[in-house]
C-alpha cells in the first residue's frame, strides 16, 4: 500500500534524525576533571580553581598527552602506552590502554566517576586520595608496583573489577604505571587545593608558582611515598610448624572470638559478616560527612533570621547560602550516592585481596586501608596471625550445623 511506503520513508527519516540528535557534534577532546568536591569544600574561588588546573596541566599534561616530571619517578614511555585514545602506533603496539580497559569504571581522571561506576557495588576505586586496599605493605603505605600488577592480573574476586591476565605483561605493567600517575596527580591536586587554606594574607589568594613550592614541597612528598613502598613490604614470619593444623585452627578460633583481635565485632558470631554492617569506607565516609555538613548548614541558614543582621553579616550569610547551594549541586554531579561497606562474609571463601594464605596474612596483619577492617598488628603477635589465617581459611568448610553453635557467649553478649 502507498501508505506503508510512506511509513517506511518516515521511519527511516525519524531514525536518522534520532541518530543525529543522540550522537552528533564532533567528539570533544578528553580532559581531566577537577576535584570539585574538594574545591568546594575548601571554598576555592573560580580564579583559584583555575590556578590549580593550570599548575596541574603544566605538571601532568592531559589525558592524551601525559607529562611525568623526573621527581615523580614515573616512566613516561609506559604512560604514553596507557594514555590517549585507543589506537595502534607505528610499530603496531596498542596505545590508549587505560581508556580501552579502565576508564568506563575508574573515569579518565581516576576519580571513579566513569559512566558505568554508579551501577557498581562496591564502586570502583577513586585513586585521587592515594589509598589502596590490597597490598603487601603496612596499612598506611602505598602498594608496591608488584601489588598493583597483581591486582590487575588477578582482578578483584567478588567485585566487578575484572582480571587482565589475558593482556600482554607489558600492557599490564603500563597500566599499573598509569594508575600511579593518576594517583600522584590526584594527590597533588588535593595538596594544592588544601594549600590555599594555609596561605599568608599577603599572598593575595594565589599559590606561589615556584619550583620550590610546586615540585619540592607538593609533588615530591606524594611521589616519595610510592618510591618508599618498594622497601616497605611486611615481614612475614614462617608459618609455625610446631603445631598441627587442627590445633592451629582451634587457636585461631579463640583469637577470632577473643577480646584482642575481636573479629566478631564486625564479621559476626557466625562469620557471615553480619556484625557491624552500617559503616562506610573512607571514600564514601568523606561524602557522607560532607553531605551531613551541607544539610545541617542549610537547615541552620534557613532558620536564621536576617532581620537584625548588619550589612556585613548579611553578606556573609548570603555567601554561606550560595556556598551551600553550590555544594549541593556539586554533590549531585561529582559524587556517587554513598554506599555502606559490609564486613566480608567469611563463609563464602571469596577474598578480594587474593586467596593465598599470604594474602590473608597481609589483610589481617595490616587491615584493609580505607575500609573499617583494622590491623591485627600490635594486638596479635605475628606468629598468631597465622592461626587466625588458618581459622579463616577453614570457615567456608565448617558444617552449617556448627554455625554459631559453640560460640563463646562473651562475644555475643557484647552487642
Amino acid at each position: 500500500m502507498i501508505k506503508a511506503r510512506h511509513n517506511i520513508v518516515l521511519l527511516s527519516a525519524t531514525a536518522w534524525l534520532l541518530l543525529v540528535a543522540v550522537g552528533c557534534g564532533p567528539t570533544p577532546s578528553a580532559s581531566f576533571r577537577p576535584n570539585m568536591v574538594e574545591a568546594t569544600k575548601q571554598r576555592l574561588t573560580v580564579d583559584q580553581e583555575r590556578q590549580v588546573a593550570t599548575v596541574l596541566l603544566a605538571m601532568f599534561g592531559t589525558p592524551d598527552d601525559p607529562v611525568a616530571l623526573p621527581e615523580t619517578g614515573l616512566d613516561e614511555s609506559k604512560l604514553r602506552l596507557a594514555a590517549g585514545p585507543v589506537r595502534s602506533d607505528i610499530v603496531g603496539r596498542k596505545n590508549g590502554l587505560y581508556r580501552e580497559h579502565c576508564a568506563h569504571c575508574h573515569g579518565v581522571t581516576g576519580d571513579a566517576l566513569g559512566p558505568t561506576a554508579a551501577f557498581l557495588n562496591p564502586y570502583p576505586r577513586d585513586y585521587r586520595p592515594g589509598v589502596f586496599k590490597f597490598k603487601s605493605t603496612e596499612r598506611a603505605d602505598k602498594p608496591t608496583h608488584a601489588d598493583l600488577v597483581r591486582v590487575l592480573h588477578n582482578g578483584i574476586a567478588g567485585t566487578s573489577m575484572p582480571s587482565f591476565a589475558l593482556l600482554p605483561e607489558i600492557q599490564v605493567d603500563a597500566l599499573a604505571e598509569y594508575v600511579k600517575y593518576l594517583t600522584i596527580r590526584g594527590e597533588t591536586e588535593l595538596a594544592l587545593m588544601r594549600a590555599f587554606f594555609e596561605l599568608d594574607d599577603d599572598a593575595g589568594g594565589k599559590l606561589p608558582e615556584t619550583r620550590e613550592f610546586l615540585v619540592y614541597e607538593t609533588l615530591t612528598p606524594a611521589a616519595e611515598k610510592w618510591r618508599a613502598a618498594a622497601d616497605a613490604e611486611i615481614q612475614v614470619p614462617e608459618m609455625p610448624s610446631d603445631i598441627d593444623l587442627v590445633a592451629s585452627i582451634a587457636k585461631g578460633k579463640e583469637l577470632f572470638y577473643g577480646d584482642k583481635a575481636n573479629c566478631v565485632k564486625c564479621h559476626g558470631v557466625t562469620g557471615l559478616g553480619d556484625g557491624q554492617a552500617n559503616d562506610y569506607d573512607d571514600w564514601n565516609k568523606a561524602i557522607v560527612e560532607v553531605e551531613k555538613e551541607v544539610k545541617s548548614g542549610a537547615a541552620k541558614a534557613r532558620e536564621a533570621s536576617t532581620a537584625g543582621m548588619s550589612p556585613d553579616e548579611l553578606a556573609e550569610h548570603r555567601a554561606q547560602l550560595a556556598w551551600l547551594e553550590k555544594f549541593h549541586g556539586v554533590l549531585d554531579g561529582d559524587a556517587l550516592a554513598p554506599r555502606t561497606i559490609p564486613p566480608r562474609n567469611l563463609r563464602h571463601g571469596i577474598y578480594r585481596g587474593g586467596r593465598r594464605p599470604l594474602d590473608l596474612y597481609y589483610r589481617i596483619h595490616a587491615g584493609i586501608n580505607g575500609a573499617p577492617m583494622p590491623a591485627a598488628k600490635g594486638t596479635v603477635p605475628p606468629e598468631d596471625i597465622w592461626h587466625i589465617v588458618n581459622y579463616v581459611r577453614s570457615l567456608p568448610y565448617e558444617l552449617d550445623g556448627e554455625l554459631g553453635a559453640d560460640r563463646p557467649m562473651v562475644a555475643r553478649d557484647r552487642f
Partner: protein, 337 residues
C-alpha cells in the same frame, strides 16, 4: 519437473545479504576489539593499495590488523556485489510495475548507502572520531535492511499474500522501527567515548536501550500472536523466528553488560556472584558482545522480511485481500484503500 527461469536478481540479492552479514560480523568485531585504528591510513593500508596489501602480512598479522583490513576488503566486496545487483536488477526487474519501481528504488538506495558507508568508514579512521564511528555503525544495519528487502521482494513470493495495512503489518512495522532504534541506541553505548561522556547521558542511553528491549520484545510477541491466524505462512514463520531471536538477544544483552561493564555486584545475591572475577578481553566475552550486536542486526533483517510478508510494499491495488474481515458487532469493518 517445472522449468522456472533462473531468478538472477534474487540470487545476487541473497549473495549480497550473505556477504553483508559477514561484513557486519567483522565490523562488530572491529569495535569489540577496539581495532578501528589498527590501520591508521585510508583508503590505503599502511601505504599499500588496499587490494595489494601483502596477504600473509594481513592474514597472519596481528588480530586487530586482521579484523580492520578484513573489514575493509569485505566492504569493498559488498560494494562490488551491490553494483552487480544494480546492473542485474535493471536488466531483469520484476514484471509487476509497482514492485519494479520499489525494487529499483531500493537498489538505488543500496548503492547510495554502500558508498556513504565506505566514506564514513574512511572518515572514522582519518578523523579518528567516535561520532563518525557511531554514524557508521548505524548505517551498516540500514544497508543490511535494504539488502534483505531487495532479496525478499525479488523472491518467488515477492510481496506474497499481503493484504494491506492489517494489524499484523502495523505491528511488524513498529517492530522494524523499534529494532532499528535499538541498534542506534546500542551503537551509542558501544562507541561510548568514556573520556567525555557525562554519566547522566550514559544513564539515559541505558534507559532507552533497556526500554527499547522491552518494547521490541512486546512487539515481537504481539507479531507472533497476530500472525498466527490469517497471515501468510512466511509471516508466521518470520514472526516466530523473531520472537525466538529476541529472547536470545535479551540473554545476550545481559551477558554483554556483564562482560563489558562488570557484574553489578550487589544486584546479584552474593551466592550467585562468580567466585572468580571475569577476565577482561576473553574470547568468550568478545563472542557474547559481538553476538549481541550481530543478532541485533539479524533481528532487524528478519523484521524487514516479516514486514514485507505482512504487506509492506504490497502492490497498489493489484493484490487482492485474501478475505475481507467479517464485520464486528454488526459494525462494518473500516474500508482500506
Amino acid at each position: 519437473m517445472i522449468h522456472r527461469s533462473l531468478n538472477v536478481p534474487h540470487l545476487v540479492a541473497c549473495l549480497l545479504v550473505g556477504a553483508t552479514a559477514v561484513l557486519l560480523c567483522f565490523g562488530a568485531l572491529v569495535t569489540t576489539y577496539d581495532a578501528a585504528m589498527a590501520v591508521p591510513d585510508w583508503p590505503a593500508t599502511y601505504g599499500h593499495n588496499m587490494f595489494l596489501f601483502p596477504f600473509a602480512e594481513w592474514f597472519w598479522g596481528p588480530w586487530d590488523l586482521f579484523l580492520e583490513h578484513g573489514h575493509r576488503l569485505l566492504g569493498a566486496l559488498v560494494g562490488l556485489i551491490t553494483l552487480a545487483l544494480a546492473a542485474v536488477v535493471w536488466l531483469q526487474s520484476p514484471k509487476e510495475a509497482s514492485l519494479k519501481s520499489t525494487v529499483r528504488g531500493l537498489v538505488v538506495a543500496a548503492v547510495l548507502l554502500v558508498v556513504l558507508q565506505g566514506l564514513l568508514g574512511g572518515a572514522r579512521v582519518l578523523l579518528d572520531d567516535k561520532t563518525v564511528a557511531k554514524v557508521h555503525a548505524c548505517t551498516g544495519p540500514l544497508f543490511f535492511a535494504v539488502a534483505v528487502a531487495i532479496a525478499a521482494l525479488t523472491g518467488r513470493n515477492g510481496t506474497s499474500a499481503a493484504t494491506g495495512p492489517s494489524i499484523e503489518s502495523r505491528v511488524s512495522l513498529g517492530l522494524l522501527g523499534a529494532a532499528y532504534v535499538q541498534l542506534v541506541a546500542g551503537a551509542q553505548l558501544r562507541h561510548l567515548d568514556v573520556a567525555t561522556v557525562a554519566p547522566a547521558t550514559f544513564r539515559w542511553l541505558v534507559a532507552i536501550h533497556v526500554f527499547g528491549a522491552v518494547a521490541v520484545m512486546a512487539l515481537a510477541f504481539a507479531a507472533a500472536v497476530c500472525c498466527r491466524g490469517q497471515a501468510s505462512p512466511g509471516a508466521r514463520r518470520w514472526s516466530l523466528a523473531i520472537a525466538g531471536l529476541v529472547c536470545c538477544q535479551v540473554a545476550l544483552g545481559i551477558g554483554a553488560w556483564f562482560v563489558s561493564w562488570g557484574i553489578p555486584s550487589g544486584w546479584l545475591p552474593a551466592a550467585w556472584m562468580p567466585s572468580e572475577p571475569l577476565a577482561a578481553r576473553s574470547a568468550g566475552g568478545a563472542a557474547v558482545i559481538t553476538g549481541h550486536v550481530v543478532l541485533g542486526m539479524l533481528i532487524l533483517g528478519v523484521a524487514v522480511a516479516l514486514a514485507i510478508a505482512t504487506g509492506l510494499f504490497a502492490g497498489r491495488g493489484t493484490r487482492v485481500a485474501l478475505q475481507p474481515r467479517p464485520p464486528r458487532d454488526g459494525r462494518p469493518e473500516r474500508a482500506y484503500a
